[in-house]
């Protein structure tokens, strides 16, 4: 079934799927079954790394790159003159199994252009996933895109077989989405998202009573936002993510720096390169919300609507709140330790365990992996007091931290000499 001719299809349909940044294969722990193939580990496994540095964990592929929609930011839009092709459900199931058996991949990520109508497309995709689970007895990871506008019944069916479902919002505000994607609106994206979160919740409830009740998208749902294609601020973006995490229970929001694939379309900005640094800062901010207990408005707000490209958001927060520092490493509450720049979740675990044995000093912290270069201004430990952010003033600390980074490689980045402070501190 898979033959030489599949090479060309793979080239086109993997090339078409590469703009979706989701690559996680984590979140489900699924054991193999008798006579079956595959399992899914809770932490996920990468199997290779593309030359753009991104992890390759899943066979990320489109069922088809024909599409009836004409979204300005999308490479696969109807009006683009590109080679088009489709895989049959059997071909994709087959390719997945063959790659999986060779340990090339951790599973399948299946997306598609919209063929004819959303339900028709969804049906085909569901048939791939169902084939893998039932005919091939495959227990590995599957991430499936939900087509905006697909019916409840098909979403329910998809959630039964897949580990993760996702719908991409792409553009953070509805007005901008309408301009760039005339065939879509927020409703068409948020409706299926709601169906998925309801499905997940119901299945969780049911499994409390019946251990064998069917799973529904056990690894949760995610979405993607394109960054830099519109004038939306980081404040808008992070507020949206924060709402999705709390109200829709999303596992991940991915941020994709806009790559001008349709540069002739004048609704889009002309960029010389994708805004990679901004994308990186957004991931850091997102991390702070998910693992460090930060609220989105602590990271960016109406006063400072965009993330600082020069310093990471945790340092920025600390510099805006010098009155909370220095923190005593030997006594501080874990939630406060988490807020110290240079200390990550791993070193906190070590600190909490080690300080039960004895008082810690900076040499201990260094050995445990604390980045003292940043942390030194925000902590006190069991030794002579060094100058901290209160003694030095935030502006000076900011300058010191900037000087320690080699910004020389990026001449276009001007150092900001005066640091914007929160109103409370002025």
């Amino acid at each position: 079934m898979i033959s030489e001719s599949s090479l060309e299809k793979l080239k086109i349909l993997a090339g078409a799927a590469k703009y979706d940044v989701s690559c996680a294969s984590s979140g489900t722990k699924r054991g193999n079954t008798q006579g079956g193939i595959g399992n899914a580990t809770a932490w996920g496994i990468c199997h290779s790394f593309a030359e753009d540095g991104r992890c390759i964990s899943l066979l990320k592929i489109m069922l088809s790159n024909y599409c009836i929609y004409d979204c300005a930011y999308c490479y696969n839009r109807k009006s683009n003159d590109i080679p088009r092709t489709s895989f049959t459900p059997d071909e994709i199931a087959n390719l997945t199994i063959e790659f999986y058996r060779r340990n090339y991949i951790e599973g399948l990520f299946l997306s598609s252009g919209v063929l004819r109508n959303p339900d028709h497309t969804m049906e085909q995709m569901v048939s791939v996933v169902k084939k893998l689970r039932t005919e091939q007895r495959y227990n590995g990871y599957i991430h499936m895109k939900t087509i905006p506008g697909a019916s409840q019944q098909l979403v329910t069916e998809a959630g039964r077989w897949a580990d993760r479902l996702s719908v991409n919002i792409e553009i953070p505000t509805e007005n901008n989405l309408k301009i760039l994607a005339p065939d879509k609106d927020f409703k068409s994206v948020l409706e299926p998202m709601k169906m998925i979160s309801t499905g997940i919740l119901e299945s969780k409830e049911e499994r409390k009573n019946h251990r064998n009740a069917p799973l529904f998208s056990p690894s949760g749902q995610s979405t993607q936002l394109i960054i830099g294609a519109t004038n939306d601020t980081d404040h808008t973006i992070l507020k949206l993510s924060s709402a999705l995490y709390t109200r829709r229970d999303l596992k991940r929001v991915y941020y994709s720096g806009y790559i001008p694939v349709n540069s002739y379309d004048n609704r889009l900005p002309a960029l010389s390169a994708p805004p990679l640094r901004r994308e990186h800062r957004l991931y850091q901010a997102d991390w702070l919300m998910r693992f460090y207990g930060f609220r989105s408005d602590e990271i960016v707000n109406t006063e400072n609507p965009n993330l600082d490209l020069d310093l990471d958001p945790k340092v920025n927060w600390a510099l805006r709140n010098p009155h909370l520092f220095p923190v005593d490493i030997n006594t501080a509450d874990p939630m406060m330790l988490l807020r110290v720049p240079g200390i990550g979740t791993h070193s906190i675990q070590l600190i909490l365990m080690a300080r039960k044995h004895q008082r810690l000093n900076s040499a201990h912290l260094k050995k445990m992996g604390v980045v003292m270069k940043r942390a030194q201004f925000f902590i006190t430990c069991n030794e002579l007091r060094s100058q901290n952010v209160q003694d030095l003033k935030p502006e000076i600390v900011r300058q010191l931290l900037l000087d320690k980074k080699s910004l020389g490689s990026d001449a276009s980045v001007q150092l900001k000499l005066f640091y914007p402070m929160t109103p409370a501190l002025r």
């Binding site: 080239k11 079956g36 540095g53 991104r54 790659f99 060779r102 039960k356 201990h364 445990m368």
Partner: protein
């Protein structure tokens, strides 16, 4: 100067610890079996591995700390680094002599060092999970080989025997010349004298490959190429995540 030597097995190392306690003499240096370096000062006591003594030390470690910690010690041993045995003897001594569990006392250098090395070994084992590439043979079984930095294959086998339970496979460590064979029932340790494998890239001899094996390698290579976004090209990060020493075994990098 107290020097011990042992047979370089984990049981041997545990026996050595037992002997240290019964002789009340702890080593300044430990030599492993095959490397019979000439010793200028002092004489060397050779330790004869004794499974019962080893077990007592193993149980002692568990009762003074935890089972996790005992396994941690085993994994650090698998690093095979020349300094590891002496480090482990110091560590085990700390665990056994302390009244409370010291395995989380990260203010002690020996604890930090053991944990660092442990992390390195685990990371290498993870890389084998990640970068193992099976080749399908004409008989329909699957073969993979590697030369890991540490002796981590034993740690990886449960993962593969669960995941690839319905296919026959062999994973072979080319550097240490042994591997594991899975026959859909059990896993056994194997040594091949006449392996028909190109030691340069771990590829099986062409006559042994399934008819469509080369096609799937090409498909994978094509996928690898197509999935890369040229505008985001980042060779530094690429090399950081995918260490060069693995490239020669990966069809996508061949």
């Amino acid at each position: 100067m107290t020097i011990y030597s042992f047979d370089n097995t984990f049981e041997g190392l545990l026996t050595l610890v037992f002997e240290c306690y019964s002789r009340k003499q702890f080593p300044d240096e430990i030599l492993s079996g095959e490397g019979s370096q000439s010793v200028l000062f002092g004489s060397t006591s050779n330790i004869v591995t004794d499974d019962r003594k080893a077990e007592r030390v193993w149980n002692g470690i568990i009762s003074r700390s935890s089972e996790d910690n005992a396994h941690r010690i085993y994994r650090v041993f698998l690093s095979g680094l020349p300094d590891a045995p002496l480090l482990l003897v110091k560590y085990i001594r700390l665990i056994i002599d302390s009244t409370k569990n010291e395995e989380t006392n990260f203010s002690l250098p020996v604890v930090v060092e053991v944990n660092k090395l442990h992390q390195k070994v685990c990371r290498e084992a993870q890389r084998i999970h990640m970068f193992t590439r099976f080749q399908k043979t004409i008989e329909g079984s699957y073969y993979a080989s590697y030369a890991p930095m540490y002796d981590v294959l034993p740690l990886c086998i449960p993962h593969f025997s669960d995941r690839f339970a319905d296919q026959h496979w062999i994973i072979y460590d080319l550097k240490r010349n042994y591997g594991f064979l899975y026959d859909m029932k059990t896993v056994s340790r194997v040594v091949f004298d006449d392996l028909k494998v190109n030691p340069q890239n771990g590829q099986l001899h062409a006559s042994l490959l399934a008819e469509d094996e080369k096609l799937f390698q090409r498909l994978w290579k094509q996928y690898f190429k197509s999935i890369c976004i040229e505008e985001r090209r980042n060779d530094k990060v690429h090399r950081q995540h995918l260490p060069k020493r693995f490239w020669k075994y990966l069809p996508e990098k061949l």
